[in-house]
Subunit: 286 residues, 4 copies
């Protein structure tokens, strides 16, 4: 949680000899001080993934010059790449229904500075948390959703998200299935918390499904939203032990603790540019 | 795993007032010393479950007399019940293929006395572990299974199991799907270890399925075998964290540690009469 | 967290034959419907522990009559016992410093009804969370503590606690060592969350101690406060995996998630009368 | 556990700009194909740690030439470094007493090829496991230890270890405290499994200590042996949940599962050159 300004370079490309040498030589030649570096070579798809955090002040130039000078290297290795600036905080828009646990949890982390982002607004299909959100000096938008008004409501959500120049949308138990178009348009930019250990118990009422099946652990999954319900790339998961004495209500209660923790981790990985998506899987450089 | 002789009474019946009073008064009236007692009232199906361990020597009579005198109480409450004697060790028949980890693990626990059972024989469709098993003074039977000989092979297994008066069959990564008839006949007496966190990744190659889906935890499930593949009542489950850097081979390796631990726990619960099955779910009094 | 009114009977006594029979016969004779029952016989100290939840409406009398009629049984077995009424919510006073995570977490659970208690006030040695607490319609008292004013400050805290008829005091990262007299006076009624896996890293800066020692897991402990620093009866503990790449700041961040979860569980066990203290240990009937 | 031949380069040095560039450029210039790479910059002690696995066949020269040509780079950065060859299997000598679980577990992993090492011999102060070990075609040496013969016995152990050119000694619940001289001489080459979550419960009978303290989790620690009892650098740890109903014997039983798993992981990290020691702490590149 350093407050020192850093640039974070993330990239992936076909695997071959010399990628690390080229990147690290470029950085070293400009006296760049690397504080964190991670690699992954996927030997099945022969693809290489990399993340580097560089102290901004160790470089003789800004991020724009970095981009220009690095571009030829990126091109020669056919890299998918980007570089971000920690001084440019990610703008996280939270969507919530009437369930409080994820909202309280994210706001607590934001309030204390642990989660180093901006929250330009919270959007909800219920008017329950207006005062609570506004107490944090965060604008609250009530956008009701009914079967009949769904298209209009999502258009409103998109409008609000765009107006505040949101980077990522967090479905903090929003309980609404977004339209396929919306999922496609914001691919890799909408994070959901699903209240089961996916791929078990897709869809509605996963705690009831888990209770019926008699599983001995219950879990939660943080994933990117895609048009396929609960089938997007998984960012983070966790579980907690339950037993025969636990009712569905107990599962819900245990689950809430897992949900908020898993969402917080997944969101953190995302806003710190630790997640690289390839196909339907993620590389998470923790 | 006290070596003091105990009777273990397990029962379930429709829930109503007075069950515990009736049972515990019966035991107390005969000066029975209860060392462990657990109850569970399932409020959805309105059924009551109970397990009691009583010191054999505290009672003025043996198990047969207990059965006779307790029968009227059991009848009046419509109990499914049984009482077992710790001096009568369960006879566990192990079925194994070429994978060593569960076999080594169960035999280590048996060798040290931690797992207080008899192992009258090990049956395998490969001749790999004969010497290892025989070193433990346990008979080893090689019963090859091919698509053509499957029915005969299973008949042979059943014959061996019956001949040694087996109580429970343990599929310690046996890798063969038993016939529906066999599953039905030995309902609640065949324990399998499946190498995934069920209901995720049913059937063949669950580690490959888990790798493809990109899950962040891998697990194992110990369950009773039923005619529905990997769908029987779950006794125990656990998981371990994995990440993008883990290959299928890594998942297999991590999984082996979970498999053997989960199987050992599940088997222990079973042989200590801690598992009560109701419908497709279990009550496990740990 | 059923809203149906229940009486919870907890007791401990020297172990002997007939305890369960006597208690359950008493309850059954009055048509008491037991929804949850747990026993524990400690074979080292030969003491028996019991907890029963009984539906209030199933009994023909109220809690006072229960107390009167049960007293002779309790006496004959030399029981330490009490019976509580779920309609009489526990009054939880929270003490907090400038760290937000436990406070947010407890208030979120209270706000949603998951934690079924009353919070008559929050007391803090800093004026940071006044507005946040007051937004929940909970009175906030700022009681500064300095080395010179410590005795007066604690007297003020006690006064506030007594005035609201508090049942339990929760040190939600309060960061102040209470006086031995206060610890003794409220024995079993002050709950602390310590930010290490006790007995490792007692006292100040446990995360720094953990970092120095190079442990691979970090944890938290919820315990009753006694005059011996961080040595009181443990109610609940948990850990999370860390590694060499984690700084002290990372440990603090990971730790916060464990702290709030462990405190929430411990507090829940306490207010639901699931914790029985014997010597310096607890029996926790989850 | 690929069977493809790899060289593993591990190093640490004072942190500065250009380390990764220098190393990776050297490797790339010789067409070295890196299959795994990990870095860690310790910002407190300003030291850099690195591990790289390189496909042996991708290089135009053998390990000796690598060493010669890399030496100047290593020198210029003041590196502590080494490079090992996966074709040169580590020679692991196991020391054991009468407890079977770690021995069975390590031999099962070795038997299946999961643990890719040589086990030139097993040494024990009891003659219990001779036949079991010999069944695996591994020599077994019985070296009794009494207070009077301790020095001679350890001299014998050292002699046996040296004669088989052992790389690492594993105390698989050996239950003997080695001499300080022996610890110093084989610094970083003796691995112990201690049956508690260190630094809690150092020394004898940790499960009894844990029972007395009433902890809610029990654990195990794999660490390098130093002259300070149970205070050496920690390689790996884990815990398992226990509760009031667990006796010391139960703790022992639960603990065995954690011990063998933690030892297996720690040993694996060591033999795959994933552990770099600095001061009394480890960097473990999993």
């Amino acid at each position: 949680m350093s407050s020192v300004r850093r640039y974070t370079l993330t990239l992936s490309c076909p695997d071959r000899v010399g990628i690390v040498a080229a990147v690290s030589t470029f950085v070293a030649n400009h006296q760049g001080w690397i504080v964190e570096a991670q690699h992954h070579a996927d030997q099945v798809v022969q693809r290489f993934f990399m993340r580097q955090e560089i102290l901004a002040d160790s470089l003789p130039f800004g991020i724009e010059t970095f981009r220009e000078q690095f571009a030829p290297i990126a091109e020669s290795f056919q890299m998918d790449w980007k570089i971000t600036d920690s001084a440019q905080k990610k703008r996280v828009v939270i969507l919530v229904s009437k369930l409080e646990h994820c909202l309280y949890d994210v706001l607590a982390r934001w309030q204390s500075g642990e989660l180093d982002v901006e929250i330009p607004c919270v959007i909800s299909n219920h008017d329950v948390f207006r005062k609570f959100v506004e107490w944090h000096d965060i604008p609250f938008h009530y956008v009701p959703v009914t079967p009949a008004t769904k298209a209009d409501a999502f258009a409103k959500v998109i409008h609000l998200f765009e107006r505040v120049e949101g980077d990522v949308m967090v479905l903090a138990r929003y309980m609404q299935v977004l339209s396929p178009e919306m999922c496609d348009h914001y691919s890799g930019r909408i994070i959901n918390i699903h209240h089961s250990f996916l791929p078990s118990f897709v869809g509605a009422k996963p705690y009831h499904q888990a209770y019926e099946r008699g599983v001995k652990l219950t879990g939660a999954t943080c994933h990117y939203v895609t048009a396929d319900l609960d089938a997007g790339p998984i960012i983070e998961q966790d579980v907690i032990r339950i037993d025969h004495s636990d009712s569905v209500e107990d599962l819900v209660r245990y689950g809430k603790d897992i949900e908020k923790t898993v969402l917080a981790r997944g969101l953190r990985y995302h806003v710190e540019d630790r997640v690289l998506v390839h196909g339907n899987k993620t590389v998470v450089f923790r």
